[in-house]
């Protein structure tokens, strides 16, 4: 009898993983389990065109690139795993046996920490297509002001959409400038100016103490310094948490909530035992990236879900002969008329150089270095130069990586990326 493969988590990583499972030659039963009732859909447009009302959330269903011939268990969350019996428990109580398992349960939005306040009408998080559909409806009713808590990518993209819709926006950012934790203040200061020019009211280095409400509807927020912001809509954009609660009691090891994987996406249990028959990929997985030696890496990137999903799916079928997963992390964001692209990871960078273009032009490549090595490159509207820097990062090139280039200052004079002081 042929082996049964189950994929838990029917989003991008799960879909690409399932496709890779078929491409790798698995002809036996294949089951995809997803907690949402929806077929796999594409998330990046949710925080852009969907909440802007340009197209419906239903339009984001992802194309299958391979005929899957799979059994779909949608709207049925996995609630438990017995790694010894090789069995998954579904929310309805049903048990699903597997021979090999791919875990791609992703992450969920971090909700507002005070449940009663979080439950107020008008308080949103943005992660799934239902979230996006709800927020779109709320924005379409032209609220007086939208308050965005958090200065990460989702918050920035949502702020951009709100301004496009002509809505007043306040962003309460725990850092000194939006995206400062990822890009450093030297770059994100530029973004902050651009956002302010576009009409976003930014409250830097600020935190929300509590949300206020009236008759079950949110009316605004009180900041830690006592300042009040009134808003009809509040978007809580404080990052995401890996979906691993369902693995409580399974014995699988977790770090900061993420599944601990080895270099081949195999999961480890708490005793350190490697389960070759269980792989994980996408937002849920923490793994050692060969370019970034400092501990485990967890990525919430679209590109990583695709690449790691495909890698893990293939490896699950083929075994472990292939090279370790080493895809260079890359992502993009569109906001305020800009395309921001990052190759590599900026974490730990001690120097920054604008290697092409300039802040003044509003188009540039900024390279990030760590102890003399190039670890990341950031593009603001310069996508066609990025591949050269991506190649330099993969080659562990010295910093700055490319000199003597066109449209490059003769003296690069690396500067401090200026990381914000760690937030609590």
């Amino acid at each position: 009898m042929s082996e049964r493969i189950v994929v838990v988590g029917a989003s991008l990583a799960g879909l690409r993983g399932a496709e890779a499972i078929r491409l790798a030659g698995h002809a036996g039963p294949l089951t995809l389990v997803g907690d949402e009732p929806h077929a796999p859909y594409d998330r990046p447009s949710l925080s852009k065109h969907v909440i802007a009302g340009e197209f419906g959330a239903g339009a984001t269903t992802l194309p299958n690139l391979v005929a899957l011939d799979a059994e779909w268990r949608l709207g049925q969350a996995a609630v438990g795993l017995d790694a010894v019996k090789r069995e998954i428990v579904l929310s309805g109580g049903e048990q699903l046996e597997y021979d090999r398992l791919l875990i791609t349960t992703g992450a969920r939005a971090r909700s507002w920490h005070e449940p009663l306040e979080a439950a107020l009408t008008g308080v949103f998080t943005l992660r799934g297509r239902d979230d996006a559909e709800a927020l779109r409806g709320a924005l379409a009713r032209k609220p007086e002001r939208v308050l965005i808590i958090g200065g990460g990518f989702i918050g920035c993209e949502a702020a951009s959409v709100c301004r496009d819709l002509g809505l007043a926006v306040t962003m309460v950012d725990p850092g000194p400038a939006p995206l400062a934790r990822i890009l450093g203040i030297s770059v994100s200061g530029f973004l902050r100016e651009r956002m302010e020019r576009a009409g976003v009211e930014i409250r830097p280095n600020a935190k929300v103490r509590s949300l206020t409400g009236e008759a079950g509807r949110v009316t605004g927020a009180i900041l830690e310094d006592g300042a009040e912001v009134s808003a009809e809509i509040i978007l809580v954009a404080l990052g995401a948490i890996p979906n691993t609660d369902w693995l409580d009691g399974s014995g699988l090891a977790r770090e900061k909530g993420a599944l601990v994987c080895d270099s081949h996406c195999r999961v480890r249990d708490e005793s350190g035992f490697i389960h070759a028959e269980i792989r994980a990929a996408g937002d849920v997985a923490a793994f050692p990236h060969p370019l970034y030696d400092d501990g485990l890496t967890r990525l919430e990137h679209w590109g990583n879900a695709v690449a790691q999903g495909a890698y893990a799916g293939r490896a699950l079928v083929k075994g472990d002969d292939g090279p370790a997963f080493s895809e260079l992390p890359t992502f993009w964001s569109n906001q305020f008329g800009l395309t921001i692209k990052l190759a590599g990871l900026t974490k730990g960078a001690d120097s920054l150089a604008f290697v092409q273009g300039s802040l003044k032009d509003g188009r540039f490549i900024a390279a990030y270095g760590h102890e003399g090595r190039t670890i990341a490159a950031l593009s603001f509207d310069c996508a066609r130069w990025l591949p050269a820097y991506a190649a330099a990062i993969e080659a562990r090139a010295p910093f700055p990586p490319i000199t003597g280039a066109v449209d490059q200052l003769t003296r690069l004079g690396p500067i401090d990326p200026a990381w914000p002081v760690a937030q609590g």
Partner: protein
């Protein structure tokens, strides 16, 4: 024969009908130094890396006030207008960012989707007329009768050159295109002709631009002359750009159509499928671009030492990007010598890539598609008179000089 003189062989006109065995000899040698210090780059991976490498420059003209170089294109540009002006107003194909980007952005505001797509109907009508003219003939030359006249008409229409001036433009385009070849004849007579053509077209454009300023119409030149939301071009840049659009869009498109028809006649099954299903055209055009590219290589310059594929290309070295070889790189394409329009992931370099990606690509695709579909439908039982056909001298802009077909009739 050593690989260090392979580029000479590639340029030798006797290899024009089939340069591909020469490219195949470069397999396993992605970057090869030639005796004269030029570097020949042939693998898909190496070309991609260099296309996106900011240390590769397109600004290949010598500084102002240099003596004639013997390279006709340089002289063609450099001689007729004063050195000082020219050095600041080269066509954007020979410029680097930020200037290149600024100019290109301006041009793109006028190379609009609606303007380009409006050329479909124009191309169809013009092809119809060209074929009607040959109605009753038992022989047709795809190059002379079809491929040569079409692109000039289209680019004239895009720019806004009055129709009555098209024949004059036709002659200029032919003259200037031959001058683009790095290995074209550059004897006194040819150079003289090229200079005269350049002077004539410059003078013509100058007058036309003035006219467009006075009486703007819905065409690229009027838009560019009036200034755009991406900025305005000066007069010299405008002239240089107009000439570039004419020249760059001409012989390349001729080659696309002629190479395409030749390839289809060598693969009659595909010709028949196209006749029955015009929706095959996009795939066919892309595969023709890969298989028989209109431009075989472009030469750039290294601005710094570049380590690649085990070699170091030294600063200042000319770098030949052999797109046609990369298009048949067995490491990138399964069965690269097979003509297969259904090939998945057909990522060829026939329009170059990165910042200098062919600006006219959408127009070329339209012209190629419509020409091939029309020829497939209207030529009844076409047969090649000569196979291989005679080729023009150019090694980079490579294509048949004539492509004579005998036909039962023209429908």
């Amino acid at each position: 024969m050593s690989l260090s003189t392979l580029f000479d062989e590639i340029k030798d006109p006797k290899n024009r009908p089939d340069p591909y065995p020469l490219y195949a000899r470069l397999a396993g040698h992605p970057v090869v130094r030639q005796e004269d210090g030029t570097y020949l780059v042939s693998s898909h991976a190496a070309i991609r890396a260099l296309l996106f490498d900011p240390r590769i420059s397109s600004a290949d003209l010598p500084p102002a006030k240099s003596p004639p170089t013997g390279n006709p294109f340089k002289d063609w540009i450099l001689q007729p207008i004063k050195d000082e002006i020219v050095s600041r107003h080269r066509p954007l194909i020979f410029r680097d960012p930020p200037d290149h980007d600024a100019l290109r952005r301006i041009v793109m505001t006028q190379f609009t989707i609606s303007r380009v797509n409006a050329m479909k109907a124009r191309a169809e009508a013009h092809l119809g007329e060209l074929l009607d003219k040959r109605c009753g003939a038992r022989e047709i030359c795809v190059v002379e009768d079809i491929a040569y006249p079409l692109p000039v008409t289209i680019i004239c229409e895009m720019l806004g050159v009055p129709r009555e001036d098209e024949p004059t433009f036709q002659g200029w385009a032919t003259q200037l295109a031959t001058a683009l070849e790095p290995d074209a004849r550059h004897d006194e007579e040819t150079q003289g002709q090229t200079r005269a053509t350049f002077d004539a077209i410059s003078a013509y454009m100058k007058v036309l631009i003035k006219e467009k300023r006075r009486h703007p119409q819905d065409d690229m030149l009027s838009g560019l002359a009036a200034g755009t939301e991406a900025g305005a071009m000066g007069e010299f840049d405008l002239i240089a750009t107009s000439i570039l659009l004419l020249v760059a869009g001409h012989e390349t498109t001729v080659n696309l159509i002629a190479n395409g028809m030749l390839t289809l006649l060598r693969h009659p099954h595909e010709l028949e499928r196209l006749r029955q299903d015009a929706e095959r055209a996009p795939r066919l055009v892309e595969e023709i671009l890969r298989y028989e590219p209109p431009v075989h290589f472009r030469t750039r310059k290294a601005l710094a030492d570049i380590a690649i594929a085990g070699e170091v290309i030294p600063e200042g070295a000319p770098v030949v990007l052999l797109f046609a070889a990369a298009n048949r790189d067995p490491a990138r394409f399964a069965e690269p010598r097979r003509f297969d329009p259904d090939r998945p992931d057909n990522q060829h370099f026939s329009f170059g890539g990165s910042l200098h990606y062919c600006l006219g690509a959408p127009l070329a695709r339209i012209e190629g598609e419509i020409a091939l579909v029309t020829l497939a439908r209207r030529l009844i039982d076409p047969r090649l008179v000569d196979d291989p056909p005679p080729y023009r001298e150019g090694a980079s802009l490579r294509g048949p000089k004539t492509l004579r077909l005998s036909v039962d009739r023209i429908a």
